[in-house]
């Protein structure tokens, strides 16, 4: 078993090395695609093997660590100094994440064989994708914060490389100045915004090391678990960690990079910017549940930011026309739900939603990829319509994804989202206000996703059918869609709550991971089942209303949409321009910093003041030398006169002193 754990990572590492060094020489696209996907597939097989074995083990042995080699250590042979290893920890949470990452990752790799067909950078794409899997696995399997940070920044790098994959293309930035961004801009923005969050992660590690003398999960959590809630150091640590999470998982205020990240190829959006990487923040909070449980103030912050992001992002998704942008805002919004869950101490529910979201959001993105593929790179939903007869498989699977995300039972999204809403309402850390936000967000979700479905697949075609001939995608693309649709349909059954006579298997599976945190929080309250039923019915009703309303407006009465847009034109403009947040950041932070650096620091301090002093000193020397030099005229009479004057001076001084 111990050999299998490193193998999970070794396979994609092999993929990176082989494709990175030899990829450009392999002319056969298929070979590259099969090899790249195969490595992730093998990694998935290894994780399944471990998972299946774990099922038969007792609880204590389900958690074990495999240490590979020492990584960073000071070698000063003092016990208090740093020593960190490359070591992987398997437990109920990390194996679940590994299964999602490698499983969904494998499907998306296979899909990419069809989607990236003919791209000159085919090998480069698969190299980066494999590298991403490596980084993401390190993130979820790490047994210490530093290795997790390696994965954390590593996935950021892959995100950068893949957003900028088509670095010589432009993309629609959306908003009031469309079509102005280069893919490279979006890539850079993603990396830098993530780095701002990473500073928080770094500082949290420093604090932790300072307080606990270690960066190992076991040591830190063990030492923290004896502390009582409200500890100030823990408050800072968790706040800083959460800052890191807002960057990686695109929450307020650092969400701005994710919509632009859609400049990357669609499989990238599906894998990195929907199913896996962006959930890293949620995973991290879940992993550190012990710490967060000790910081009630941080928990509240997370819940509020999560709920706010869920609604805020959904409103922007209402009016976008770029098919991927709508899904991007939807991702930001769904991540908000996961954080809402974390914030109300429903760790299991958050991870549950992370899983179901990985299924249906990957499905929706890959479906949108099939649409874009069919429409010859058109992404504007206003220029689509009626595609369901051209793309039957894509349509059916997409519809399943849409119903799942809208939260209609019995599809996957219903169970996970409803559990979050229920906990937001009933948990000691929740509140009816959070529930209202959540339900309002659910209405918006149902609306924007069915606006998307209606505009894309229903109605009459709004494209020039002489120029564009939509066609169904190849099998490498449709098969992953079908598998993901199946998962989106049944994926929720692992978490059917007891009130619906389910076993809630997932929650029981994860329970040991969150046991300490739950004990700290003193959670045992479940709330009256009747209330749960009422709220459940209400939220399903709201979602159904959103669907019906969207279909009514966009299929039957387009005029309502137009008149609403006309009546609330300033609101529409505000939403369409994404609340001008990008412009605000640009005007308040980016530009002033650049201007200050150029004019004050460089041209002012460096060139004028410091170099002015240096060159000035040199000039004074040169200038005085110029003056004194003139006395050396070379004329003997002048020297003689000077001698005489000098002698007279000395004599007169001697005489008259």
């Amino acid at each position: 078993m111990n050999i299998l754990v490193p193998l999970i990572v070794v396979f994609p590492v092999l993929g990176v090395l082989v494709l990175g060094f030899l990829g450009s020489r392999i002319k056969n696209e298929k070979l590259i695609g099969i090899f790249g996907s195969g490595m992730v597939g093998l990694s998935f097989v290894a994780s399944v093997w471990i998972f299946v074995s774990m099922l038969s083990w007792d609880e204590a042995s389900r958690r074990f660590t495999v240490e590979l080699f020492p990584w960073i250590s000071t070698f000063t042979s003092t016990s208090s100094s740093l020593s960190v290893s490359i070591a992987y920890q398997i437990d109920q949470l990390s194996i679940l994440m590994t299964l999602i990452v490698t499983g969904v990752g494998f499907l998306i790799h296979v899909y990419s064989i069809g989607y990236m067909h003919g791209d000159p950078g085919f090998w480069r794409f698969f190299t980066y994708m494999n590298l991403f899997i490596v980084a993401m696995l390190n993130l979820v399997l790490a047994d210490n914060f530093l290795l997790m940070f390696l994965g954390w920044e590593g996935v950021g790098l892959c995100s950068y490389l893949l957003i900028g994959f088509w670095y010589d293309r432009k993309f629609e930035t959306g908003g009031y100045k469309p079509g102005t961004g280069w893919a490279g801009d979006a890539a850079k923005k993603a990396f830098i915004v993530n780095r701002i969050g990473d500073v928080g992660f770094l500082l949290a590690m420093f604090l932790m090391f300072n307080r606990f003398g270690s960066l190992n999960f076991d040591t830190v959590f063990g030492a923290a678990s004896v502390l009582s809630p409200g500890n100030e150091t823990i408050l800072w640590i968790t706040m800083l960690l959460f800052l890191g999470a807002t960057g990686k998982s695109a929450q307020i205020p650092l969400y701005v990079w994710l919509p632009d990240a859609m400049a990357g190829p669609t499989p990238v959006s599906a894998l990195i910017h929907a199913a896996t990487m962006v959930t890293a923040g949620v995973y991290m909070v879940a992993r550190c549940s012990v710490l967060f449980a000790l910081a009630p103030a941080t928990m509240t912050t997370i819940a509020v930011i999560g709920a706010a992001t869920a609604v805020f992002a959904a409103t922007m998704g209402l009016v976008q026309n770029d098919i991927k942008k709508i899904l991007a805002y939807s991702t930001v919004s769904q991540l908000g739900y996961m954080f809402l869950a974390m914030g109300v101490a429903a760790f299991g529910a958050g991870v549950f939603h992370l899983m179901t979201h990985a299924f249906f959001k990957a499905l929706l993105f890959l479906g949108s990829g099939a649409v874009i593929h069919a429409m010859h790179d058109e992404q504007d939903v206003q220029k689509m319509g009626g595609l369901k007869s051209f793309l039957p498989v894509t349509y059916k699977t997409f519809l399943i994804g849409a119903i799942a995300i809208a939260g209609i039972p019995p599809l996957a999204g219903f169970f996970s989202k409803d559990e979050i809403l229920w906990k937001a309402f009933s948990s000691e850390y929740g509140s009816p206000f959070l529930w209202i936000f959540g339900v309002f967000g659910a209405f918006l979700t149902a609306f924007y996703v069915f606006r998307l479905v209606s505009l894309t697949f229903d109605g009459k075609p709004r494209f020039d059918s002489h120029k564009v001939h939509p066609h169904e995608a190849p099998r490498t693309m449709t098969v992953p869609l079908i598998i993901l649709a199946a998962l989106s349909t049944v994926g929720g059954f692992v978490g059917v709550p007891e009130s619906l006579f389910g076993g809630n298997a997932l929650e029981h599976w994860l329970e040991p991971v969150f046991r300490t945190a739950n004990a700290k929080l003193g959670l045992d309250h479940h709330g009256p089942v009747l209330v749960e039923y009422i709220l459940m019915a209400f939220s399903v009703g709201v979602a159904a209303a959103g669907i019906v309303f969207a279909r009514f407006v966009y299929l039957k009465r387009q005029d309502i949409a137009d008149s609403l847009q006309a009546r609330f034109s300033s609101l529409h403009k505000l939403l369409f321009n994404k609340y001008y947040v990008d412009e605000m950041y640009d005007g308040a932070i980016v530009r002033p910093t650049v201007r200050l650096s150029e004019h004050l620091l460089w041209k002012g301090i460096d060139i004028s003041i410091i170099d002015g002093l240096v060159n000035g000193a040199a000039k004074v020397v040169a200038w005085s030398a110029q003056g004194i030099r003139k006395w050396q005229t070379g004329v003997a009479q002048v020297y003689a006169t000077a001698f005489l004057a000098g002698i007279l001076l000395v004599l007169s001084w001697l005489i008259f002193k």
């Binding site: 450009s24 080699f69 020492p70 990584w71 960073i72 250590s73 000071t74 070698f75 000063t76 042979s77 003092t78 100094s81 740093l82 490359i86 530093l146 940070f149 390696l150 954390w152 920044e153 590593g154 790098l157 950068y160 900028g164 670095y167 010589d168 280069w182 893919a183 490279g184 801009d185 890539a187 850079k188 990396f191 830098i192 780095r195 701002i196 990473d198 500073v199 770094l202 500082l203 590690m205 420093f206 604090l207 090391f209 300072n210 910093t593 650049v594 200050l596 650096s597 150029e598 620091l601 460089w602 301090i605 460096d606 410091i610 170099d611 240096v614 040199a618």
Partner: protein, 520 residues
């Protein structure tokens, strides 16, 4: 046998210089090969150090000692510990790479140029192995001369201005250091049973009872000289000019090795000789370091010339090293040492890369480029890896140093505040900003004017150029994933260095009580 090893490594390039002297000017290829052979032989000789070095042992190893100037007790004393071992290896490693990477860049007075590079190597290695302050001073100044000529003769348009500026800045500092060396020697003569000496080991013992006021003055004299060399804000303005004007090999060595002289000096001399003064000034020097980290990064961000951008980034990176040193913690010290190596590798490589594209396009302005990744994919890949190393991506070398430094400064009792670390940490964001922005403007976007840059077609890297870069990339990844190889070499040294300071701080060692800076 091993006692002659350091002398052999230091002066082996002289054999190359002698061989070059006997050669004619006509055969350029032979001159280059002779230079290369000499530099490579030195590198291989230096590898023997690894075989016999005992990283668990404290103190100096491979010590060779001889009396040089009898009346003054000035000796020829060389020896290394874990820190200088790494720096000697860095020097002997980077010199052949600099020569190889700029094989065809210089044609004017090639023989003299090659001789100057080799002479520079002698000076640099000498600085790192000297255990006698007078000997150290001789090498320190000797190093200036070849660098002055390299910039002044083979440099760019404003080379003379840059060369003179470089020379005068450094000389200004080192003269004060000379005075301080003499004062130290005289102080040693004044202690019971003492005599005038410049032997570092004797001086450290002799200086242990030095009054705080004298400590502070002598410390400041040394520190000024080293701060200019680092360069520490606001003494850094010679650096951008020197770098931009220097030929590529000059920039590589200047950034790779010469910029380590200052931080090396701090660790080798300032800390053990004047521990109390170092402790007292630590917050002030760290403040300058932190200002340098942010300032260097912000100014780098708005540069229009790639080379100048890299030059300013050095100000930022070296700020991290100084912060690590004055955190006076094991993590900070180890981080500072490994970061010196890291900066030598990645900034050296960056200057090589900039030189390679300059050789092709004859311009270094960022605005003249765009879409280069399409035209030169191999070049772009190397550039990307080195860029990531420079911005401290975990898994590559830069992160190991930066992380240890920040961790050390955070827990530092000598600094006594986490503000230094908090501000310095934001430097990692700015580093990403200036490097990635530059990378994007040069590499991404559409290909320029049908592939013509400044009127030149760009060809991807040649085998020779790749051969120069590959060893660096291997080390970049090696240090990033398995830094133990290198950290273990300097571990004992770092522990002992920090222990001594810590004893002074906690009062285990009592020094004279006067504390100038903290007096009301």
């Amino acid at each position: 046998m091993t006692e002659y090893l350091l002398t052999g490594i230091t002066f082996l390039p002289v054999a190359g210089i002698a061989a070059l002297l006997l050669m004619g000017n006509e055969n350029a290829r032979m001159i280059k090969v002779a230079g290369m052979v000499s530099a490579c032989a030195t590198f291989f000789l230096s590898l023997f150090l690894l075989a016999d070095f005992d990283s668990a042992a404290g103190g100096y190893q491979f010590v060779q000692s001889a009396l040089w100037i009898e009346g003054l007790n000035i000796g020829y004393v060389v020896g290394i510990d874990g820190m200088s071992l790494l720096l000697v290896l860095l020097t002997t490693f980077l010199t052949p790479i600099a020569l190889l990477g700029t094989w065809n860049s210089v044609s004017h007075r090639l023989k003299e140029y090659t001789m100057m590079v080799l002479l520079l190597e002698v000076g640099m290695t000498g600085v790192f192995v000297s255990l006698d302050l007078f000997l150290f001073y001789v090498f320190w100044e000797a190093m200036l001369i070849p660098m002055y000529f390299i910039i002044g003769i083979w440099g760019g348009q404003d080379r003379v201005y840059a060369a003179v500026k470089f020379f005068l800045f450094t000389l200004f500092g080192s003269l004060l250091m000379l005075v301080a060396i003499l004062a130290l020697g005289l102080y040693a003569a004044g202690v019971p049973e003492g005599s005038f000496t410049t032997d570092l080991r004797t001086l450290i013992d002799a200086a242990s009872g030095m009054p705080a006021a004298l400590q502070l003055w002598l410390f400041l004299a040394f520190a000024l000289s080293f701060a200019i060399k680092v360069p520490l804000f606001p003494l850094h303005t010679w650096l951008p000019d020197a770098h931009v004007q220097a030929p590529t090999a000059g920039s590589v060595i200047l950034a790779g090795v010469l910029l380590k002289m200052g931080t090396y000096g701090f660790i080798r001399f300032c800390l053990p000789l004047f521990p109390q003064a170092a402790l007292d000034t630590a917050p002030y020097l760290s403040a300058l370091a932190v200002v340098g980290i942010i300032y260097g990064a912000l100014v780098a961000m708005v540069q229009t010339d790639i080379k100048k951008l890299v030059a300013y980034s050095s100000v930022s990176h070296l700020g991290f090293v100084v912060l690590g040193i004055f955190s006076m913690t094991e993590e900070g010290m180890q981080g500072a040492i490994i970061q010196m190596i890291n900066h030598g590798l990645s900034t050296g490589a960056l200057f090589l890369l900039v030189g390679m594209i300059y050789d092709r396009a004859h311009t270094r302005l960022i605005a003249d480029f765009g879409g280069v990744a399409r035209v030169m994919p191999v070049f772009a890949s190397f550039f990307m890896i080195i860029t990531l190393s420079s911005i401290g991506l975990p898994g590559l070398n830069g992160f190991v140093g930066e992380f240890l430094i920040l961790l050390g400064s955070f827990k530092s009792a000598a600094l006594g505040s986490v503000v230094f670390t908090v501000i310095a940490s934001t430097g990692v964001v700015f580093a990403a900003v200036y490097m990635l922005w530059m990378f994007q403007r040069v590499m991404f976007g559409p290909v320029r004017d049908g592939g013509l840059y400044h009127g030149h077609q760009l060809k991807d890297l040649s085998v020779r150029e790749i051969a120069a870069l590959v060893p660096i990339v291997i080390l970049v990844v090696w240090i990033g994933l398995y830094p133990s190889t290198f950290l273990s070499m300097s571990g004992t040294f770092a522990r002992d260095a920090v222990k001594k300071i810590e004893e002074v701080r906690t009062g285990t060692i009592r020094t004279a009580n006067m504390n100038l800076l903290r007096r009301p």
